[in-house]
């Protein structure tokens, strides 16, 4: 039995490989994700172990606000310089140095633009001289207050050289320095982990990076001979007390690496998401291929049964075949995944400014994941056909039993039930009734909806396919093609369903993002009463900011009626982490953002007063007059009194603090600026003047309202494009499915095609017949996809109504494009099978048994 199975498998290897390709791709993404994470993870470990190699123990003040990597860089609390002396006095300390190191030193390159980073930090530090790790390549260390040195990678990215005057943005607005040196790291490295680093003299670093003289962000300690770092850490922690965090160099390296790895996991999830899509589509293809194979082998399987094979053995033989296909697909997918992982790791390393990659790692999880996913999916998909195979009666070996047209009732009922479950899950998930498992519930709902619709497809296919086919019925080949596509509704349905998944996902995402874009645009259009907006696009984790002095200067320009600068930060408000904002001009809340007072006065704020949104007030049980302690990123906790409550809207922040509070924000500079012009003032006249004011704030630019809206929604556009490109993959897999189905049915109909040719159907007509069949199937799939996708998209949009997506925008143009694309896909997919059909040897086909 085993041998018979394997031999028949070999006889159909090409066909099975084609359907296995989807599994190969899915496995590739899965193992690629693991390989990438492992390789980069170990690279980060190595980099940071090296970077902290010279630090035995480091002392840091506890940060005031815990900030996760997703929200930005954690801001360590500056500690007074006197701590250094206390540390030095601790026994076991050989040497200690006060270090200033903080995120946010942005150097302006020779092209006048800030050298950006896609993730690695932009550190501003105090120069403590060369070390085993850090070596000057050129020039010397900074001695005067206007001198800096930078790392070689930054020098190259900004195209600056020793002797140049360079601008640097810090907590303070742009300042000019002379570049007196460029350094690198041991081993000829230009950066560590892609970080951009600017070194100042210690007093300058303290002022610009920490905002105060005589403070350090941490103290780096060298242990005396005979004292272990761990022992010294414990000793220091005891001496300094609970306000300080003391860590060994090893711990610091592990923490730094863990932070970056956390960022990687997001990337990982995207890859796994695409693996899921590829595998879902792949499941349909494999199901179809095995169904067709089982149908073709009816006689063979019946024979097996007649000569003594049990039903279980037949199931076993089909499942074994699936296992073999899954195994081969997994091996190929794993190999491809290792390649993709290596490539992505390389690209990532390049993007991160030449991260030195540790050796390529293939973790056990990649191998295990590849085989588990590949084989499981294939076997699960083959289970249904296997069951069907086991029900073939042995008597089928004796007679040409035409497989009776099984009624579609069961499938249809099953489909309706599964679709129903999907709808319920979607309702629960989108309606916010699923609590913690919201995402899982929504994904489950989408999955069920797809499977359910796929099960319903056979019954839908009859009327729709005959309607679609009617378009081609004017010629005999067209008519034959149409009849063929309606001949086996299940097969047509599954093939179309595979295409449906891809198209539905693209359509759904497009509906959601278009609606979001439209809603944001409409909201900004209707509500923001500002003619000019200052903002920057953010590429790294840190939002762009600008010099607050611009706000005052802009207010002085004739024709400018109101100016507001918006600041934001994460803070602890009444014990809870909360996003807080500052409007430099509190009156703008009402006049520019259309806020409405729910209680108290929201038009002004005293230094110890705060405004809250009605949602926040309700959630925290606050009313006018309540007092709330607020801890900002810098400074000590302060108590504010609620002086007003505004109604929550899309444009309001949970908490608004008085302008004075912005100085204690992690970024004490405005992130956006809104300018309202006096009636009758020309925007074109004011805009160039603002541009001039922003000359020293190269991270941001000024745009009129249309430009601003475009800028805001432009990010959604690029997101949409990215998703579409990746989902195109699902569509490519589905095309493979169509090719596969057609190729199989051509093979299956060899005799019939030979007969048609014998009675005079020309080659070209044969090809046309196959093409019509393909086009009908793919348009049907696309149609389903557009409908299902629009449904899913609309459901999500409906659910996001409260989040501000108020307008449902249907991308009609896109939908038509998909249908046209589907027709082209059909034609393309038909090429090979059609050629094959046309080449059928007439005599051979008729004699063929």
């Amino acid at each position: 039995m085993l041998r018979a199975t394997l031999k028949s498998l070999l006889a159909r290897k090409l066909r099975l490989l084609l359907s296995g390709l989807a599994v190969v791709l899915g496995v590739m993404f899965v193992s690629g994700a693991f390989v990438l994470t492992d390789t980069l993870g170990r690279s980060f470990d190595a980099v940071f172990a090296d970077a902290y190699a010279e630090v035995d123990v480091s002392v840091e003040a506890k940060p005031k606000i815990d900030v996760s990597t997703a929200e930005g860089m954690p801001l360590s609390t500056p500690m007074p310089a006197s701590v250094l002396d206390r540390v030095k006095a601790v026994p076991g300390v050989a040497d200690a140095a006060g270090v200033v190191a903080a995120e946010g030193a942005r150097m302006i390159g020779s092209n006048g633009k800030v050298v950006t980073s896609f993730g690695p930090p932009q550190l501003g530090q105090n120069w403590l001289g060369e070390s085993d790790l850090l070596e000057l390549r050129e020039g010397r260390g900074p001695q005067a207050d206007d001198e800096i040195v930078i790392n070689a990678a930054l020098a190259e990215a900004g195209k600056v050289k020793v002797g140049d005057r360079v601008g640097v943005l810090t907590l303070a607005p742009k300042k000019e320095f002379t570049l007196v040196g460029v350094f690198g790291y041991s081993g000829g490295r230009d950066s560590i982990g892609g970080a951009n680093e600017v070194y100042f003299t210690t007093p300058v670093a303290q002022q610009l990076m920490l905002g105060k003289p005589d403070v350090f962000s941490n103290i780096s300690v060298q242990a005396a001979d005979g004292t272990t770092p761990a022992a010294l850490r414990d000793e220091l922690a005891r001496t300094l007390g609970a306000d300080y965090q003391v860590k060994t160099g090893e711990q610091l390296a592990a923490d730094a690496s863990a932070g970056l790895k956390e960022g990687l996991s997001f990337f990982n999830k995207i890859l796994l998401g695409f693996a899921a899509v590829a595998l879902l589509v792949g499941t349909f293809l494999i199901l179809n291929t095995f169904s067709i194979i089982v149908a073709q082998r009816t006689r063979e399987l019946a024979l097996m049964r007649a000569i003594g094979a049990s039903g279980k053995q037949v199931i076993g033989s089909v499942v074994l075949e699936a296992l073999a296909v899954g195994l081969i697909a997994s091996v190929l997918g794993l190999a491809a995944g290792i390649g993709v992982g290596a490539l992505l790791a390389y690209l990532f390393g390049q993007l991160a400014g030449g991260l030195t990659l540790a050796g390529l790692g293939v973790p056990a999880s990649a191998v295990f994941g590849a085989f588990a996913v590949g084989m499981l999916i294939t076997v699960v998909a083959a289970l249904l056909p296997a069951l069907r195979a086991s029900r073939i009666p042995p008597i089928a070996a004796m007679q040409d039993v035409a497989t009776p047209d099984r009624p579609l009732t069961k499938v249809t009922i099953g489909g309706a039930v599964v679709t129903g479950i999907g709808a319920v899950l979607l309702f629960l998930g989108l309606g916010g009734h699923a609590g913690d498992s919201t995402l899982a519930t929504i994904l489950g709902g989408v999955l069920f909806a797809f499977i359910g619709v796929a099960l319903l497809t056979p019954i839908i296919s009859r009327p729709v396919v005959s309607l679609l086919g009617a378009m081609f019925s004017w010629s005999v080949p067209g008519k034959l093609g149409r009849l063929n596509s309606g001949r086996n509704p299940r097969r047509t349905a599954i093939t179309a369903a595979a295409l449906m998944v891809g198209i539905a996902l693209v359509t759904g995402v497009t509906v959601i993002l278009d609606s979001a874009k439209g809603s944001i645009g409409a909201l900004a259009e209707d509500t923001i009463k500002a003619e000019l907006v200052i903002s920057g696009s953010t590429s790294g984790p840190r939002p762009a900011s600008f010099d607050p002095a611009v706000l005052e200067k802009a207010a002085a320009i004739p024709g400018v009626q109101m100016v507001d600068g918006e600041y934001g930060d994460m803070a602890v408000v009444g014990g809870q982490r909360t996003w807080v904002a500052v409007s430099s001009n509190v009156a703008a809340l009402q006049q520019i953002f259309g806020a409405k007072a729910a209680a108290g006065d929201i038009s002004k704020l005293a230094p110890d007063q705060m405004l809250v949104s009605s949602d926040t007030a309700k959630a925290r049980n606050l009313s006018v007059g309540s007092t709330v302690p607020v801890q900002l990123s810098r400074g000590d906790a302060r108590t504010y009194t609620v002086s007003g409550i505004y109604e929550s809207s899309q444009l309001t922040n949970p908490v608004t603090l008085p302008p004075q509070a912005a100085a204690d924000f992690a970024i004490p500079q405005p992130i956006q600026g809104f300018l309202q012009l006096a009636p009758g003032t020309s925007v074109d006249a004011v805009q160039p003047q603002i541009e001039r004011l922003l000359a020293d704030s190269p991270e941001v630019s000024v745009a009129d309202r249309a430009g601003f809206i475009e800028q805001q929604t432009g990010q959604l556009d690029s997101l949409l494009q990215m998703i579409q490109i990746l989902l195109a993959l699902a569509i490519v897999i589905a095309v493979l499915g169509i090719i596969n189905t057609l190729a199989l049915s051509v093979l299956e109909r060899t005799r019939e095609l030979g007969l048609l040719r014998a009675i005079g159907l020309r080659r070209a007509q044969t090809m046309r017949m196959i093409t019509v069949e393909a086009v009908v199937i793919s348009i049907f799939g696309a149609l389903l996809g557009v409908v299902v996708g629009t449904g899913l998209g609309a459901a999500v949009v409906e659910a996001l109504k409260d989040e501000g997506i108020t307008d449902l925008i249907l991308p009609w143009g896109q939908m038509v494009t998909f249908l046209i694309l589907a027709a082209i896909i059909g034609v393309v997919a038909a090429v090979l099978p059609a050629i094959r059909a046309a080449r059928i040897n007439v005599l051979g086909a008729i004699a063929h048994d």
């Binding site: 018979a4 007649a306 003594g308 094979a309 042995p394 008597i395 004796m398």
Partner: protein
């Protein structure tokens, strides 16, 4: 009527078997109360006009199809009412088939095809018997060939060897020579007769051809779903005579 021969226990036995296809208007009674015994170590042919129920009778005897009424036994096993597992075991241990269209697996060699029933059942062939079978079918030099590389007659001999190698209680053959020319057909029939004479195999064969039926020890005639006649030690002439009488409108008894 009932066809019974000898007192010794039969290899296969049908007892008042009815087979009705369809229901209502479209009802067809393919078998109408057939009782027959096929004794061990004999070669029985079933003949009759097209549509008389020959194939149906064979399928019912072999447990490939269920009977509407009556019972079927193979050896001491009652086939009627067996579940799928029981039927599978029956096919493994007691029944062999030879088909009109040979039904070999195109991907397997002749040898692999021959051994397939044993390998499905997870059994080892008896080497001595295997040699005897291969020599009797005369295929030793063709064992490594695939069906496509064999002539029709050779393919059918492979199919015969496949049926024989498991030494079933009874082999059912439905028009085994239907697709062969007279010479290849004669070879296959001789071979079947030898396996009965020399090795005591029981064979039940459906055929249209009086010459083929003449190789059998006994011929049972079916007409309209009923056994109407029987011949022992038939010759082509006596078979032809009987068939002519059957075609005549008058019913003929024995």
């Amino acid at each position: 009527m009932t066809a019974t021969v000898g007192q010794e226990q039969a290899a296969a036995r049908a007892n008042d078997v009815w087979k009705v296809y369809g229901s209502g208007e479209a009802q067809v009674a393919a078998l109408r109360g057939v009782s027959a015994e096929f004794e061990r170590g004999r070669f029985t042919a079933i003949m009759g006009p097209s549509g008389s129920g020959k194939s149906t009778l064979m399928h019912c005897l072999a447990g490939l199809d269920t009977v509407t009424k009556g019972t079927v036994m193979i050896g001491d096993t009652t086939v009627t009412g067996l579940n799928d597992a029981g039927l599978t075991k029956l096919r493994r241990d007691k029944v062999g088939f030879i088909f009109q269209q040979f039904n070999l697996l195109p991907t397997l060699t002749a040898q692999e095809n021959i051994l397939l029933p044993l390998s499905i059942a997870g059994r080892k062939p008896d080497p001595a018997w295997y040699d005897v079978v291969i020599d009797t079918v005369g295929l030793r030099d063709r064992l490594g060939h695939r069906p496509a590389q064999l002539s029709g007659g050779q393919q059918q001999r492979v199919a015969c060897a496949r049926a024989l190698v498991a030494r079933p209680e009874v082999i059912f053959a439905d028009e085994p020579t239907g697709n062969l020319d007279s010479r290849s057909g004669a070879e296959v029939l001789k071979f079947l007769r030898n396996s009965v004479r020399e090795h005591g195999q029981t064979i039940v064969m459906v055929t249209h051809d009086p010459t083929a039926a003449a190789y059998a020890d006994r011929v049972v005639f079916l007409a309209d779903g009923q056994i109407v006649s029987e011949l022992i030690e038939p010759t082509a002439e006596t078979v032809l005579d009987t068939m002519k009488k059957l075609d005549a409108p008058v019913e003929v008894g024995n």
